[in-house]
Symmetry: C2
Subunit: 197 residues, 2 copies
């Protein structure tokens, strides 16, 4: 008996993570009942972000510009490169405030079964960057999962070719945990206690 457009709005909210049927209904009615302006603002913000946000040509992080703010910054160390799986990992590490080097964002991890190989993770771009000789330390901050470890191992082999020292975030990250959800203090410890591999 509910209107089809309301049902479609509820279904669309259900596509989001952590939003179940009951929450989706609540969000849809919230916008329709008395927060129409918030609804327009959210719809516009989504479309603007999807249209304007692309990928940094240098680090593959999400960026409005061709080269992102971190890559373009002169105040960051140019000889340290931290490898992460996702843009949200960069956000988490930046929030910890402990790291002042550069990033490279894989946008995933090696997963042959899903057709994700070195090319999909931009590893040829990473190889070119390592070949330039500016990077002195590669910090492997992929997730401590089977796929994350395999990806880190692959990149480590690449760094060895170029005689670049490789470290891996170690202390404080719980086994099987996801970087994105780890608090700043723990992340700080993991950075401070990083070990040569």
């Amino acid at each position: 008996m509910q209107s089809p457009v309301i049902n479609e709005l509820i279904d669309a909210f259900k596509l989001l993570p952590t939003i179940g049927p009951k929450s989706a209904q609540r969000l849809a009615y919230f916008l329709l009942q008395n927060h129409q302006q918030d609804g327009h603002r959210l719809a516009s913000a989504i479309e603007a972000a999807l249209e304007k946000v692309g990928y940094c040509q240098q680090c593959r992080n999400l960026s409005e510009a061709e080269v992102c703010g971190v890559c373009a910054s002169k105040s960051r160390q140019a000889d340290q490169l931290c490898i992460v799986e996702m843009p949200t990992d960069v956000v988490a590490i930046e929030q910890s405030g402990i790291y002042r080097g550069q990033y490279f964002v894989l946008m995933g991890h090696l997963s042959p079964i899903d057709g994700v190989g070195p090319d999909e993770l931009g590893l040829p771009i990473l190889r070119d960057r390592l070949a330039q000789g500016e990077i002195q330390e590669l910090i492997l901050a992929t997730n401590p999962t089977v796929e994350g470890e395999a990806t880190a191992h692959y990149i480590q082999q690449m760094a060895i070719e170029f005689n670049i020292s490789v470290t891996r975030l170690a202390q404080g990250i719980p086994l099987g945990g996801e970087l994105e959800y780890i608090d700043s203090g723990t992340l700080g410890q993991a950075f401070a206690g990083r070990k040569a591999v």
Copy 2:
């Protein structure tokens, strides 16, 4: 250091109930990182719903049509009218399946301090409807809060003028609770055990 359009997207998500800063960030990155199509679908669904959904001329519930499905239905009892505060209350009662009459949606409750009086709640429309003589029973299903009770009392006085019997949902609704969050079984009990006031 985050892009302004990403920040605006996070801010827009934060406007939604139960979505805090951390959830908002997660939702924004979810759409940007790998669910662009879901993002377009959600933005379109919001705009379509805001554009097409208005109010039923008869019951004031949200509706795409001038008269909503419940008001237009010939299979529903025409002599019972259930008064609720919000469209989500109609959804909750419909899901309980116990009620087959008509609704009137106040879109709020009396709240002089916020400038919400009888006109804002559509009570002149309700009065006209009661005056037509078809309604035999008015079921007051406003929330069991101070404002909800005051609103129910006001409407009860109106019904007395027209010699219409008035009942109030009673058993099973916890004090201070909100109708929208009550499970179907409890709502069913409240309907079955309604008492004359």
